[in-house]
């Protein structure tokens, strides 16, 4: 490698600092650990947190997959994947079942994950209570004291206004029965995948400087009311390309006359079903 950068761009002390934060996060599932977020060669809002976490845990033998909205070939995914190819030289793949490390923006792969895999989520706003309380000093206290009544106030308001909980993504969850967490802007469709997942789930927010984690096989419950239980999205259609049902789908406009088709948002999943 002749880039002149350290392996994975960050210096070793920084990686060590981030790994310590990750360990702390793993030790207290769902708890936001502050960390010294570095300047990265991409803008805030484009995954600086996720990139720093990935950079700190990646090793030469890792196989890296990067997706954005479920696709390996969108701009953001391609840029980040190239960045790691350049700074680490590790093997990259689009195949979920072959990756050891997956960085994702806004989706969890449809292919079930396995023990030993790590998923790194890109998080814009880590604080679930921010909608109500702008002061960091106050939200930290609320987490420490489990003062979470206000989260249900938000759900209550949704039901009052819309008859159901309107939140469709970044749906708040209770981790390990203790901390309330924002799972990043994944659709609520993906929330059930968080529960007792065999993989290690790491969350990085670069601009907000927070890292949190859901260790393997940890309970993750989406907040709801007894009489308005949590539900996920459903489509009547199946994937136009591979015929899959019960997957999260993108709606694609195909012509100027309003023609549209539904396809799997997870490109790897779709391709494999089609035998490619």
């Amino acid at each position: 490698m002749t880039t002149g950068y350290n392996f994975a761009y960050l210096n070793e002390q920084t990686k060590r600092m981030i790994r310590r934060a990750v360990l702390k996060a793993v030790a207290v599932p769902g708890y936001q650990v502050p960390f010294g977020s570095r300047e990265m060669p991409l803008s805030y809002g484009w995954g600086t947190g996720g990139v720093q976490v990935t950079a700190s845990v990646i090793g030469p033998d890792d196989v890296l997959k990067v997706i954005d909205q479920g696709a390996d070939d969108t701009t953001n995914a391609v840029s980040i994947r190239r960045f790691f190819e350049k700074t680490t030289g590790v093997r990259t793949t689009t195949r979920t079942d072959q990756a050891t490390l997956i960085q994702t923006r806004h989706r969890i792969p449809e292919t079930p994950l396995a023990e030993g895999q790590i998923v790194v989520f890109q998080v814009p706003i880590p604080e679930p209570l921010r909608w109500l309380e702008p002061r960091e000093t106050e939200t930290r206290k609320m987490h420490a004291l489990e003062e979470y009544g206000v989260m249900h106030v938000r759900l209550y308001e949704d039901i009052t206004r819309h008859g159901h909980v309107e939140t469709a993504y970044d749906y708040p969850v209770l981790v390990n029965g203790r901390y309330i967490m924002r799972p990043s802007p994944i659709p609520k469709f993906d929330n059930p995948k968080l529960d007792r997942n065999p993989a290690l789930l790491l969350f990085g927010a670069g601009r907000e400087k927070r890292i949190y984690a859901v260790p393997p096989f940890t309970s993750v419950r989406s907040l709801d009311f007894e009489d308005h239980p949590f539900t996920i999205e459903r489509w009547e259609q199946t994937c136009a390309l591979c015929g899959a049902a019960d997957v999260f789908m993108d709606e694609i406009v195909v012509d100027d006359k309003g023609g549209r088709m539904f396809v799997c948002s997870d490109t790897d999943f779709c391709e494999r079903r089609r035998g490619r």
Binding site: A144, V150, R154, E157, F225, D227, H228
Partner: protein
């Protein structure tokens, strides 16, 4: 619960702002079901005292003890903050003079009333809403307004909503700071009547800070008269208002205009 042990006991409560006296050496006992009025004019120290009693201000000296539901007595001033915050949400209530200080303006009336219940683990939307509607009835707010934002309420309605929000967990002790301040007279009358009924029906204990003697006549069993940070007179409300002993109390009572 033993009715012979006070619910709240304060001794020697003093709070200085540098050389200035906020309040000095105040002691009081409050029993279950009793309403204590603290009257005085601006600068008398009554609001400072209320802050010290409710743990929101740290006094320079003195003790404040509160008897919990399990009869254990806790030192309010040395309580760890988590315990104090929890107390403030469950067994204590605070009614602010400005209802906007005690409400969440950006969520519906129902959510405002239901919040304490949700904080205590209520997880059934229908029942929370029913409880909220029930309380709106009790404070005489039209049930149709349950989904409206407090911003759309008149100040009298906001004040009644604040009361509902605070009383929904049936706290045993309520601190009120000028609860009728800033309200039109007719609105005040209605609010006072509501408070009077709730105090009796729920067996609340309350400490009411006010400059308005008519409020104390109606609501308080006992009075403390404060001036310059000190208690100059105390006794049953009718004693203090009908037979004031201290010159300042006499001045206060004689200054009240009779329409």
């Amino acid at each position: 619960m033993d009715a012979d042990v006070p619910l709240l006991r304060a001794r020697g409560v003093s709070r200085y702002y540098g050389a200035r006296v906020g309040c000095r050496d105040v002691g009081l006992d409050l029993w279950p079901g009793e309403v204590l009025g603290i009257v005085g004019e601006s600068g008398s120290g009554k609001t400072t005292l209320l802050g010290c009693l409710s743990g929101r201000l740290e006094p320079s000296a003195g003790t404040v003890e509160f008897r919990q539901r399990d009869d254990r007595v806790m030192d309010v001033l040395r309580m760890p903050e988590p315990a104090l915050r929890k107390l403030a949400r469950t067994d204590w209530g605070i009614v602010h003079q400005n209802p906007r200080d005690g409400l969440r303006l950006g969520v519906s009336a129902g959510a405002n009333v239901g919040e304490r219940l949700m904080a205590l683990g209520a997880r059934h939307y229908g029942r929370i809403r029913e409880a909220a509607v029930d309380w709106l009835d009790r404070v005489e707010i039209d049930r149709e307004r349950v989904d409206d934002w407090p911003e759309t309420f008149s100040s009298g309605m906001q004040q009644r909503l604040q009361i509902a929000r605070t009383l929904v967990t049936e706290p045993r002790l309520v601190f009120m700071d000028e609860p009728t301040g800033g309200l039109d007279v007719s609105v005040q009358a209605r609010l006072l009547d509501l408070l009077r009924r709730l105090v009796t029906d729920l067996g609340l204990s309350a400490i009411i800070v006010t400059h308005d003697l008519a409020v104390t006549r109606l609501l308080a069993h006992r009075l403390l008269v404060m001036r310059g940070g000190e208690v100059v007179e105390s006794g049953l409300t009718d004693q203090v208002l009908d037979d004031p002993q201290h010159p300042y109390t006499q001045l206060l009572v004689s200054s009240v205009l009779q329409p």
